[in-house]
Assembly symmetry: C3
Homo-oligomer: 357 residues x 3
């Protein structure tokens, strides 16, 4: 692992030293670090472009590869993430761009000489037009953006950073694909009961999705949060929702909201989060999705999950049954990840709307 | 390593749950899992296309990159294999397609979150048009094809699986390149004595090659099998040959068939396969190819080997002498791997014969 | 690590068995193994092409991707090196070529079956047009070139080897980018005092740069070498410079030459090189570059460094101050690595000067 501690400042501090710019209708060259950069119009742009790109991929449109031909993406995954990593790579390549990764995995390459995060990011910034980075330290994507801004003053090429997740901090592209899937399948985000289930305290994806619903703006939609009492949604997120006038409701009991939910976003509760095994045992049945549980939900509910999954969706046999249920949309959600990341890359790399829509 | 055991069914069981479709003249979109999918016409198509693509690569034909432009291959090598991995990647790229691999190696990426084989394969299936997979478990490629078929019902993109080898099970693209090399250099497969040497019990490549000779169909050709008695060709393969009326002959003594062989396919006998060292010592000289041994073969014999090689071709000094002998064709064989895989990828991805021949 | 010892001859011996050909105005298909292959004209060609390619990348010239479309580079990094690896990959892709790496890192892939360096290199040689290799063994790039020459006699495709560094031996592309940066920023290499600082005994980059200055040819330029007494420039390099009539001066005291230097090339002195800690402590202040030290240099000095850096540039806080100083050009130097490697790849792959200049 790259030693971010050799920086005089911990990664987390860069959340104060660097403020990501609002998109405000213009994506070109901007770092993508947090969902808070987006407003309704920006989100709608990404969603419209994503849907259009999905159509074109499905139709085997060979002109897609002209959109980002000659552009280069560096993939710096200091932490493994099959889906985020592969979908960003696939997205860039479907647009005709190229991808550079460290031949032996960046975590091995960089650690070898003990170089710090900033120096590795700067190397990528010298060679690539866009840098997708995932790192376990909160604030690491802010840190990368901070140093790339300074680097860009000194060199002729200019890279932009797109966060692929920073620890339990933020994961903006995941939130974008989650909300796109929801809006796409539910024909919008209004008049819905959206239920987020699991470890809502440490769950990065649920934080970003809740905020993004608020930034997208909804009418007559309610967010329900189902978690163990010790793992409830942080106050910062609750305050964010209140400020944006988003109706929300917290409970520890899934069955209180299961029947009215239009969208269920399922995540894992890790046994390790509990001090005593008995505390975990007492609540676990609320947090295992099975075919029987899903049968108690609305006929047209959609069941989402960021994947990968473990026993929070029961046994492998349960997986097979759930997977065959049309209400389980997590594979479409996973596939949408590629289309949303294509949209994000194309916009950041300056492809014109005329070529995208 | 991805934990295939978290699947309720072991990989091997999928050899019964999933039946690869016969090619029967149409490759487009089909999984390539076993040599048994091919008949003579299918093999001839692959060989004709391979030879034509070799000519075009040699002539630096720049139009090759239009054949699979915009297509995406995911490379999932849960087990390392320099030649198979690199030649599939090179094949896809020479056709103008792109390749996605996990930035840090899929075995590290997936194990990180303990996800199972099916979920990793599904991720690749969401992003790529074709998935090349190698895994140590027998039946793993059947398992991948099984799950991708189910996934394809739920998403808009459609991937096909091409096996890059499943443990000691099957390795169809290796058999294709082996038979192509033989047919190419011997102007067909008729009127030959083809001798397979080494560990014929556990040797995946010799099983697949023997079957493929039968499926190609031969006249006046004999297969000779030279192995230690404890490592003879399995009855399943022998029965397969008998059913296809292929003349075959088994012996433990290389010198019995060396002088009449037109093709010698050499593989390794591992000392670890023997219970007692003395048993290995007793037979080892039959199973070390050296310049002196090769000198006792026919003037126009071709010596093949799937590579990599160790001491079954003597000392490094022996390697140098053998490598310089025109009868040693294993480097051409290795190079043909790229052309045959180009043919396979192009056909599975639906490139028309008009563009290929 | 690939076991080069399974070769009967150690890698180092290949420095005698293989003599890299002089470029002598023609790069196409030649292995690039040592700076000694280049003369002034060859260097000027690389520098002119590098500058022109930099302009075209900066101008987002989309025709760049036609230069090496359809060409394939294999990246064999048996030893990690973030910058060399990523910049070669980026270079190839900006020219429109493709890159093949082992999916799991070549050091893992090859070691898995214990194959030796020659066999791994030959596999790459069967599939790729150019092989970029880095390996920790001195002479390993000579060894690769030796075996590829023999392979090329047997197969239809033909690869060339470009060294990405062989242990403490040579690193020609680094020397090229170093001298290009110097010539580019100082409008030539004449009338300069060029000071190389650090561990000059084991430092591969300083050896290659010193030789390259001599091969480029300079008028009224002096090379100054600042190192601990136990780590002075080897006699072989000193003799090379003397033979080429290059004025040079050795000292252990940085301050003796700091004020007159036009170029300072800084490298690290490792504490581990000293038998006693006290010996290291006695000299270390001469070998830590800080903002205060740089302030004592000429106003228009350029401070170069091959990167990555550790405490030889002081604390992380010192890094930040130095990085903001326009006299610190190591980020431009790093960026130039991509342009110089683009030039090298294009020339070796036979792109015509008409297309490059």
């Amino acid at each position: 692992m790259v030693d971010s501690s050799s920086d005089p400042r911990p990664s987390e501090q860069f959340r104060h030293l660097y403020t990501p710019p609002k998109i405000n209708g213009s994506f070109t060259g901007k770092h993508i670090i947090t969902v808070e950069q987006f407003d309704h119009r920006d989100l709608q742009t990404i969603f419209d472009v994503s849907a259009r790109l999905r159509d074109r991929v499905t139709a085997h449109d060979r002109d897609l590869v002209n959109l980002c031909a000659g552009k280069l993406m560096a993939s710096l995954f200091f932490e493994a993430s099959t889906r985020t990593d592969m979908s960003f790579q696939a997205a860039m390549r479907r647009l005709g761009g190229s991808v550079v990764t460290a031949s032996n995995g960046v975590q091995f390459s960089s650690v070898y000489k003990g170089e710090n995060l900033a120096d590795t990011v700067r190397a990528a910034g010298c060679y690539a037009d866009v840098i997708v980075m995932r790192h376990s330290a909160i604030g690491s994507s802010y840190q990368a953006a901070y140093y790339i801004d300074r680097l860009n003053e000194r060199i002729v090429t200019h890279g932009a950073v797109i966060s692929g997740g920073d620890g339990i901090g933020e994961h903006p592209s995941q939130a974008l694909l989650d909300l796109f899937t929801l809006v796409d399948l539910k024909k919008g985000a209004d008049n819905l009961t959206i239920t987020l289930v699991g470890d809502l305290l440490y769950g990065r994806t649920v934080h970003s999705l809740a905020k993004l619903v608020a930034l997208y703006g909804v009418t007559n939609t309610k967010l329900c949060f189902v978690s163990p009492a010790s793992l409830r949604m942080p106050d910062t997120i609750i305050d964010f929702l209140t400020k944006h006038n988003i109706t929300h409701y917290e409970t520890t009991d899934l069955y209180e909201v299961l029947g009215e939910s239009d969208v269920i976003y399922w995540t894992r509760v890790q046994e390790e989060r509990f001090a005593r095994r008995a505390d975990y045992e007492a609540v676990r049945d609320n947090f295992i999705m099975t075919p029987e549980v899903l049968n108690q939900a609305k006929r047209d509910v959609i069941l989402m999950h960021p994947l990968p999954r473990k026993n929070e969706m029961g046994t492998p046999a349960d997986h097979d049954i759930l997977d065959a249920n049309p209400r389980a949309v997590y594979f479409q959600q996973m596939e949408n990840g590629m289309f949303v990341r294509m949209a994000l890359l194309a916009k950041v790399l300056g492809v014109s709307d005329a070529d995208l829509l």
